[in-house]
């Protein structure tokens, strides 16, 4: 059951990721990226990371991607125009990419012991309580620093995107 779930959502994630890179119109890429994030959220649930799965959907898929889509709509971005690529590049590009990915996958699978396998319920330490406890004790300084970082980002975005007052 876990295997079927993993396969379905891994395939959806990979197909959507390929779609992000391949589509010409930015909105189609953005919608595919939302698909990637959604399927990754399900994979996080399989790995017992329930808080991170919810945070992924709320923050990434529900806020960051909305920001992307707003900017694409505001700028009225159109589809990318095709400029000529040499035929040799097109012929060699995709097979070489697949070969690179295959080599990566092979080496990653060689590095890891076969014994460890993931099943739903194998790790129960990913609850909101556990994350909150670690966040406010061990990782308190990074937490405060990131809140400062968000404040800086807000100020930066406002300054960069405002209308000029003249």
């Amino acid at each position: 059951m876990d295997l079927i779930l993993f396969l379905i959502f891994a395939i959806i994630a990979v197909v959507s990721a390929v779609n992000v890179v391949v589509q010409t119109h930015p909105i189609s890429s953005a919608v595919s990226l939302i698909g990637v994030m959604g399927s990754l959220a399900v994979l996080y649930l399989l790995l017992g990371a329930e808080f991170i799965a919810a945070a992924q959907v709320i923050v990434y898929a529900g806020a960051v991607m909305v920001l992307f889509i707003f900017v694409i709509l505001l700028l009225n971005a159109g589809a990318e125009t095709k400029r000529g690529r040499s035929f040799m590049v097109q012929l060699l590009g995709v097979p070489l990419l697949i070969a690179l990915l295959g080599l990566l996958a092979f080496f990653v699978s060689r590095l890891f012991p076969r014994g460890v396998s993931v099943r739903f319920g194998g790790f129960t330490g990913g609850t909101a309580q556990a994350v909150g406890k670690a966040l406010f004790t061990t990782y308190l300084l990074p937490f405060e620093v990131t809140s400062l970082l968000i404040l800086i980002a807000i100020l930066g975005a406002i300054v960069l995107a405002r209308k000029e007052l003249d």
Partner: protein, 102 residues
Amino acid sequence: MSEVPISWFLMLSAVIFALGVAGFLFRRNIITVFMSIELMLNGVNLSFVTFSYQLKQVNGHLFTFFVMVVAAAEAAVGLAIILTVFKNRSTLDIDDIDSMKN
């Protein structure tokens, strides 16, 4: 039958990261390049959570949380920069923004 070897999660993370790198290098629209960066960050997040499962600790989730927060802040500022570039150059094609070239 119902268990997934952990290396499969790491392979998936590597594949998503590599696809993000491919998008970053090959696409010409600024916003698509930015979305490929987000794809790379998501691949890394999957690795963090997988290792957190393997070591049975919650620290990996914390790192994922911080990566998400930083990615959100970066998306905000980056999109504001893109808006400013568009206002000045009226183009979203990174090949056309080359006024600092010789």
